[in-house]
Symmetry: D2
Subunit: 333 residues, 4 copies
């Protein structure tokens, strides 16, 4: 059986998902909608799908599931509309920038039986899942101190920064989810330090570009996240997990294994440049998880609840930065 898909949003991330859909033998892109008709048309034609309006997609009984890859402020409404129309839903992160709205969406989703998945793709990165499997198998015993390095190669355009919800909601949210996923828990307190060091314009826009966020879990375990909007050498995405019997680490994926040794030194290749390169496989694997969940009745790998948790941590991080103190997560949640 094949899952027929309607796509909301034909921008950069919609194109990524369209490729995953086409690369999976159990899913097929049927329809695409976008505020820019030309974008919808172009993506649709590449995959022999039809450009449609949003309403047509929702009303089309031949479409089994929708992918929400449109702007963040449309996510909650489309999740609810998709459920109401009886579709399975795959929605890009974040659920919303507003924690209250996201919680309300969770309430609605909870009462339904249609599968809804949030696109935290990094959970499906093969290196990260290898690390988690080793950890879950007890190879280093009890976890103690998790460290996540997440540096972008270069800051996004300032116009994007202004509507992004800020570094915590836009960038660190992936790392918050990663910490909850690896430790199978939600933190108790959130402690953030931040600065604007990369580009003063980001500061003028009210955001930071460099941050360290430290999460403390109820049983004392600690996760610390380092974020920067700029790493001149490329996308830096690493994990280190210290446990009672050792350390598990996942390093960067390099562009090649070629090493050049000259009088100037020993030079290796750089990390894959950005998320489209580094996480291409994880998008496809995450998509397969969604398809399998819908078609085979398996558990959804990333729930709306996961999305709400990550968002709550982002909100707590913002409070911590503003108030200069550790924030308890429970009241925020």
């Amino acid at each position: 059986m094949t899952l027929n898909i309607g796509m909301f949003g034909a921008g950069r991330i919609g194109i990524v998902h369209a490729r995953s859909i086409a690369g999976n033998s159990r899913s097929k892109l049927i329809a695409v909608t976008d505020l820019v008709p030309q974008a919808a048309h172009s993506l649709a034609s590449e995959y022999k799908a039809a450009p449609m309006s949003a309403d047509e997609i929702l009303a089309n009984s031949n479409i089994d599931a929708i992918v929400i890859a449109s702007s963040t402020n449309t996510h909650v409404d489309l999740i609810e509309a998709g459920i109401k129309a009886g579709k399975a839903v795959f929605c890009e992160k974040p659920v919303d920038l507003d924690l209250r709205r996201a919680r309300a969406c969770l309430d609605i989703v909870t009462g339904q039986d249609r599968p809804v998945m949030i696109g935290f793709n990094r959970r499906f990165d093969p290196d990260f899942t290898t690390l988690k499997s080793a950890f879950d198998a007890g190879e280093i015993g009890k976890g103690e101190l998790l460290s996540i390095t997440s540096f972008d190669p270069a800051p996004p355009p300032l116009d994007y920064v202004k509507v992004s919800g800020g570094l915590f909601c836009d960038m660190a949210i992936h790392d918050f989810d990663m910490a909850c996923w690896l430790f199978d828990a939600v933190p108790e307190t959130v402690n953030a330090t931040g600065a604007c060091l990369v580009d003063p314009e980001i500061g003028k826009a009210g955001d930071i570009d460099t941050a360290v966020i430290t999460l403390r879990f109820a049983d004392g375990r600690i996760a610390t996240i380092r974020n920067s909007r700029r790493a001149a050498y490329g996308y830096d995405q690493r994990l280190e997990l210290l446990g009672e019997r050792g350390l598990l680490s996942a390093g960067n994926v390099l562009e090649s294994t070629v090493i050049k040794s000259t009088i100037d030194g020993i030079d290796s290749a750089k990390p894959e440049y950005f998320f489209l390169e580094r996480y291409m496989r994880s998008y496809a694997i995450g998509w397969a998880g969604f398809v399998d969940a819908v078609l085979d009745g398996k558990a959804i790998p990333v729930s709306v609840s996961d999305g709400v948790n990550a968002l709550a941590i982002a909100e707590a991080a913002g409070l911590s930065l503003a108030q200069g103190r550790a924030i308890e997560l429970a009241p925020v949640l």
Copy 2:
């Protein structure tokens, strides 16, 4: 335009090529033939192609090109039949186990205008092409000493060993081609040392399982190849090229970037297990090179002449091993 393909041989390597054909938007598998009808039927049905007889494929005017993935002793006849039928031809290595037959085939091919490509897939490995590009760009100056490490994870079944043509024709032939490709030349002398160390049954079958072959080129450059039929840690495929201004090396592709540090040491992942894993990308890239050559009139990336050269080096290596001396290649060629 799409290149319609008829496949000879539905075994392990045929399956690999079928996947490359399907993964390329400009080629389509139309027909499959195999001595075992069930194998042809099964592969054909997976790709919505038709099982056919060899004659039907050659006679089918809808088929533009054939892929020869059948046993080595059929290669030359099928190359000639394919050309006679007006097909482009992609043939697995080696051209033949008999150098005279391969040379005769080259004579026939040379007089024709149909493209014929030999499947030395390693030339398309992204790490190796990155190394060659850096070398050709002069990053280490003139080349001096090339070292190729090529160890299989485990020896093939003894029945295969007996018909394989021996380690030089079956295994080292890839490395001979790699040396000629990287140095853009054919060696002047061939010097081989070998032994049976892995499995005495291989020795009883008249073959060796461990070898060092050293090639000397007319201008003094040296290439040395290390082969073993067994590396307990997996497929070991590395290059090192020393030049006047430094060293370029291409390392193994590891199964993951995860490192585990415990009281027992610092443990990294192993190399990808064998050629199907390690060279999967190179098969696809090589196939694209063939499709582009046929459809766009580009140069064939690996010619029958390349196949004959590698085979001649294998024959010289065999002579060197038997006679305990360096063999000049020119008389062999």
Copy 3:
């Protein structure tokens, strides 16, 4: 000219310094004192020095400098006594566990011309100085985010933990000094998260064994320190410094370069086991810095002021942990 040395303390760290003294052609161990006469006698005889009382050392006009390697609570008194006796002073870290006492000592030292050096040996580690030289030379531009990993292989005996002054004063103090040294500045705020995860007995003794401390400097630069009393694979001592044009990192020094590849994986050697192995060279280099400063009138590489700063950060970290908020350093200093 040779610097004649009197040693206070013949324990583990006194033995380290005695070796540095003997390995330096410009210094000579003359006298050793210790509460345990047998220890003083044994160390003295190994280096052909004389066991003496503390008063004898201070009164001996043939002794140019003293090394204070006795217990922490004696440091301040001995620094002052050494100065009063006209000796140059090399004192192990920390200056004292009590910030007020350390500050008072600084006041006294400041008014004197005898050189006094605090033994923050890690500043002299060849890898760390290589990193700092590259940073100071502008190789990655302006610094933004410094990360220090500092894990001990195993917790110290509980009796030691109880008198150690706690993880911040005893262990992290090295990292606080490292951050100030690398950034050539004192932080503005200190933010600590900690837990007792390694051994509940440490918690019962009122201490923690796992911590993340984040320092924010006036210009926004951030330094984050990860500490654990246990790393099953050995002493983990690494630096990472992100700047506007890249990242500088200093990795662990491994016990050997030997790698074993088997069916179980690719195994490297572990880091050198603990500080005596890893920092042996840095002790010798730091000692040479002291000798050169005293004999050649060069600047003292690590001043009492540096020691007070690190201690103040430790105190602020303790406050931050207790109060769950970022602590401004200025009022503490």
Copy 4:
């Protein structure tokens, strides 16, 4: 008890040995002789030894052992004179450039009870001994294929090349000894390929600067050695040993662990520049082995017989290169 040493030769290698002697608490440099009196005087005064004539050293009953660090053509005579004078002898490699003379020397040494050691210092390199220990402990099972990489950073002066005995006697001889030591055997056949690629002047002097030598042992094991007089990135000294259950490798020792990641790539430090840096520890350890052998009656770690074996392989390699065939070692030995 202390071993009093008389040194023959105060050049580069004599200076190295003088440092090892001084660094060992059981040996003391007493006397130095050199054809250049000023050199002898200078080295002697650095270590509070006396400049003497060769005869004075041999006649001095206070001198227990001599170190022969003078030019190669003096080695055999001095070994014999040392033995006759009742001294223990430590002699730099090679025993001689002439295999017959070396064999004659071995005959003389064999009939004596004074310890004579040949300075194949690489056997004492900590990484190489770690590798050998792991191998001897059976960690990879039976050995099959040993690969030695040995590239100098830059060719020696042409005047040195002319009297060096050629690449095989001067440079590869270390690697021949390494192969015999690791495999605990002498090879059966020697197969050499060589060229002059680095500097045509070396070719005009009748030597080569680039070579691959492959040794085959009686039980089929193979060792292959790669030599070049030039590696732009520094001294390249690596071992790889493939066995039935895996691979042991020893990599280069890098100048630091610092890695710089920028837009230009990921840059590590280069290998330690040349043998004085890389093998400084091995000289000291080897010297300790000699001292322990003489004072404690332990076995000499490297015998004259080892020196003769390595020289015989060098001679066989020269024959192989000249005649283009594998040379059996037995008739040469």
